[in-house]
C-alpha cells in the first residue's frame, strides 16, 4: 500500500468535491452513507432522499504519476421511495441508512441498500453494445410488416455509448418492526445480516420471503427496555461470527454455531466504568454509534460520542487503544444535549492496512489516528482548500485559555456542520468525507 507511514507522514491533498454550493440545503440532499467497493474503483453515496449516486475512478491517469484517477459519476438511481404505514399513520423514510457492496463475481456490480424497513439488492450493469440489423424490427423498435421482408440478415452487435443501468434484483421487506441501522454481508458471500433496534435477522441473498431471526433483545414488557442495538457486523473471515453494539456501550460477539438464536453472547466487550464518575450523560455518551472490524479480523473499532476505541477480540475487559476525538466537548454536554447533538451518530473507518483509523467531528473537521506512531491529525473539509493537490493544513481546537493564532475556540465551532460518514479506499490513500450535502475526496500527495 502506498504511504507506509501513518496519518501524519501522509500529506493529504484536496482532490475533488461533489455537490451543490448553496447554503440552503434541501433535506433530500443530506448524505446519509458513503462506501467504497472492494476494489476501491467505485464509491457509492446514499442520501436522505432515497437516492444512490455511484462514482467511478478514472483509470487513464495511472500512467501519469502526479495524481490518481478522479471519481466521476457512473450511475445514479432512486433506491427507495417514501412509504406509508397505514396502521400506525407513520411515514417510512426513504433515507438510505447503509450501502454495502458485494464482491464482484462477474461483469455486473451488486450492492445492498437499506432504509428503515426494506433492504434492496441492486444490480449495476454496463451496456456498451447493442444488436442492430433485426429482420422484423426497425431500428427504433417498430415492427416491420413481414411481407415486406425480401432478404434475411444476421443481426450484429455494434458499439454504442456506454450506458449504466441499475435494476433492483431482490427486495427484502417486512422483516423489521423497528428501524434498520446496519446491514453486513457475510464472508460466505451468500448470506447477510440486517439489524434494527431490537432484532437481528439473517438473510440469504437469493431468498426474499424468509429470514431467520438470530438476535432478539426485545423484553417481554417494554417498560423494562434498557438498551437497544446500535450497529452490527459480520466478521470479515469467520462466517459464523458477528458482533453487535448497544446503546449502553457494550459489544457482544456471537457465534452462530452455538445456537439458532444467538441471544447468549460468546463474548461481551465492556470497559468497566468508575461509578464515581457517573453522570446523567454517562450512558448517552457511551452509546456506540458504529462498530467496524479491522481488515485483519483481529481487532474491532467502536465509536462512541467522544472517542474511538480499538478492541482486541481476545480481550473483553477493556479496549487496547482509546483515542479522544473531541474531548473538549465534555464541558459542553449540557448544550449538546439541548440541541440534540449529543445523539449524533458518528461512523469510523480503517485504512487498508489497519494502521490508521478515521472518524468525523463538528465544524466539518475529521480526525485520523495513527496506531503505530500514536500521532493524530485534525483536518477540515472545506471549499476554501479547493485547488487540486493543495495540501490540507492541520486544524487545532482550543478548549480553554489563550487561543493561539490559527486555532479555533470550542465556542466558535459550527455544530451544524457534522461529518458523520467517512470512507477509506481499501488499498490506497484516498478518502471520501461527507459533509452535510457535499462529498469531498482527498488523496495523499504523490510526488
Amino acid at each position: 500500500m502506498a504511504g507506509a507511514g501513518g496519518g501524519n507522514d501522509i500529506q493529504w491533498c484536496f482532490s475533488q468535491v461533489k455537490g451543490a454550493v448553496d447554503d440552503d440545503v434541501a433535506e433530500a440532499d443530506i448524505i446519509s452513507t458513503v462506501e467504497f467497493n472492494h476494489s476501491g474503483e467505485l464509491l457509492a453515496t446514499g442520501d436522505k432522499g432515497g437516492r444512490v449516486v455511484i462514482f467511478q475512478q478514472e483509470q487513464e491517469n495511472k500512467i501519469q504519476s502526479h495524481s490518481r484517477g478522479e471519481y466521476n459519476v457512473y450511475s445514479t438511481f432512486q433506491s427507495h421511495e417514501p412509504e406509508f404505514d397505514y396502521l400506525k399513520s407513520l411515514e417510512i423514510e426513504e433515507k438510505i441508512n447503509k450501502i454495502r457492496w458485494l464482491p464482484q463475481k462477474n461483469a455486473a456490480q451488486f450492492l445492498l441498500s437499506t432504509n428503515d424497513k426494506t433492504i434492496k439488492l441492486w444490480k449495476i450493469s454496463e451496456r456498451d453494445k447493442r444488436p442492430e440489423g433485426y429482420n422484423l424490427k426497425e431500428e427504433d423498435g417498430r415492427y416491420r410488416d413481414p411481407t415486406t421482408v425480401t432478404t434475411l440478415r444476421v443481426p450484429v452487435f455494434r458499439p454504442m455509448d456506454l450506458m449504466v443501468e441499475a435494476s433492483p434484483r431482490r427486495i427484502f421487506a417486512n422483516a423489521h418492526t423497528y428501524h434498520i441501522n446496519s446491514i453486513s454481508i457475510n464472508s460466505d458471500y451468500e448470506t447477510y445480516l440486517s439489524a434494527d433496534d431490537l432484532r437481528i435477522n439473517l438473510w440469504h441473498l437469493e431468498i426474499t420471503d424468509r429470514s431467520f431471526n438470530i438476535v432478539d433483545i426485545k423484553p417481554a414488557n417494554m417498560e423494562e427496555l434498557t438498551e437497544v442495538i446500535t450497529a452490527a457486523e459480520f466478521h470479515p473471515h469467520s462466517c459464523n461470527t458477528f458482533v453487535y453494539s448497544s446503546s449502553k456501550g457494550t459489544i457482544r460477539l456471537c457465534d452462530m454455531r452455538a445456537s439458532a438464536l444467538c441471544d447468549r453472547h460468546s463474548k461481551l466487550f465492556e470497559e468497566p466504568e468508575d461509578p464515581s464518575n457517573r453522570s446523567f450523560f454517562s450512558e448517552i455518551i457511551s452509546s456506540i454509534s458504529d462498530v467496524k472490524f479491522s481488515h485483519s479480523g483481529r481487532y474491532m473499532m467502536t465509536r462512541d460520542y467522544l472517542s474511538v476505541k480499538i478492541w482486541d477480540l481476545n480481550m473483553e475487559n477493556r479496549p487496547v487503544e482509546t483515542y479522544q476525538v473531541h474531548e473538549y466537548l465534555r464541558s459542553k454536554l449540557c448544550s449538546l444535549y439541548e440541541n440534540d447533538c449529543i445523539f449524533d451518530k458518528f461512523e469510523c473507518c480503517w485504512n487498508g492496512s489497519d494502521s490508521v483509523v478515521m472518524t468525523g467531528s463538528y465544524n466539518n473537521f475529521f480526525r485520523m489516528f495513527d496506531r503505530n506512531t500514536k500521532r493524530d491529525i485534525t483536518l477540515e473539509a472545506s471549499r476554501e482548500n479547493n485547488k487540486p493537490r493543495t495540501v490540507l493544513k492541520p486544524r487545532k481546537v482550543c478548549a480553554s485559555g489563550k487561543r493561539k493564532k490559527d486555532e479555533i475556540s470550542v465556542d466558535s465551532l459550527d455544530f451544524n456542520k457534522k461529518i458523520l460518514h467517512t470512507a477509506w479506499h481499501p488499498k490506497e490513500n484516498i478518502i471520501a468525507v461527507a459533509t452535510t450535502n457535499n462529498l469531498y475526496i482527498f488523496q495523499d500527495k504523490v510526488n
Partner: protein, 139 residues
C-alpha cells in the same frame, strides 16, 4: 471510564486539546454540565434516563394527519380541547391525535441528486449514461 484511564489517555494525547480548567479544580466537567442541565430542567431524570431516549428512538417517524381519527376524537370530546402534543412532538402517546397544526412541512418532489445532476449535463464520458430505473437526469 475510570479516572486513572482518563489520565493515561490525556498523556497519550499529543496535547493539542487542553484540559478543561474545571477538571483541574477537581470537579468533573460532566458533573458541572449535569448540574447546569438539572437547573434548567428540574423534572428531567425523574424517570430512568434510559427508557425515555429509547422510546423516542424506537418511535421515530413522521406522523401524519388522519382525518378519521381526528373527527372521531372531536366528536367524542365535543366541546373540550383535543389533547395536543406536549413539548415533545415526537413521543407517541395514546391520546394524542395529530392535528393539522402539528404537522411538519410536506416533502418536496423527487429529483436527481445534486451529487450527480450537474455532471451528467456536461459532454463528458458519462454523457451516454442514464439510470435504468427511476429518475432520468434532466435540467
Amino acid at each position: 471510564m475510570s479516572q486513572k484511564q482518563e489520565e493515561e489517555n490525556h498523556a497519550e494525547e499529543t496535547g493539542e486539546e487542553k484540559q478543561d480548567t474545571q477538571e483541574k479544580e477537581g470537579i468533573l466537567p460532566e458533573r458541572a454540565e449535569e448540574a447546569k442541565l438539572k437547573a434548567k430542567y428540574p423534572s428531567l431524570g425523574q424517570k430512568p434516563g434510559g427508557s425515555d431516549f429509547l422510546m423516542k428512538r424506537l418511535q421515530k417517524g413522521q406522523k401524519y394527519f388522519d382525518s378519521g381519527d381526528y373527527n372521531m376524537a372531536k366528536a367524542k370530546m365535543k366541546n373540550k380541547q383535543l389533547p395536543s402534543t406536549g413539548p415533545d412532538k415526537n413521543l407517541v402517546t395514546g391520546d394524542h391525535i395529530p392535528t393539522p397544526q402539528d404537522l411538519p412541512q410536506r416533502k418536496s418532489s423527487l429529483v436527481t441528486s445534486k451529487l450527480a445532476g450537474l455532471l451528467l449535463l456536461k459532454g463528458s464520458r458519462n454523457s451516454g449514461k442514464s439510470a435504468g430505473l427511476g429518475v432520468e437526469a434532466s435540467g
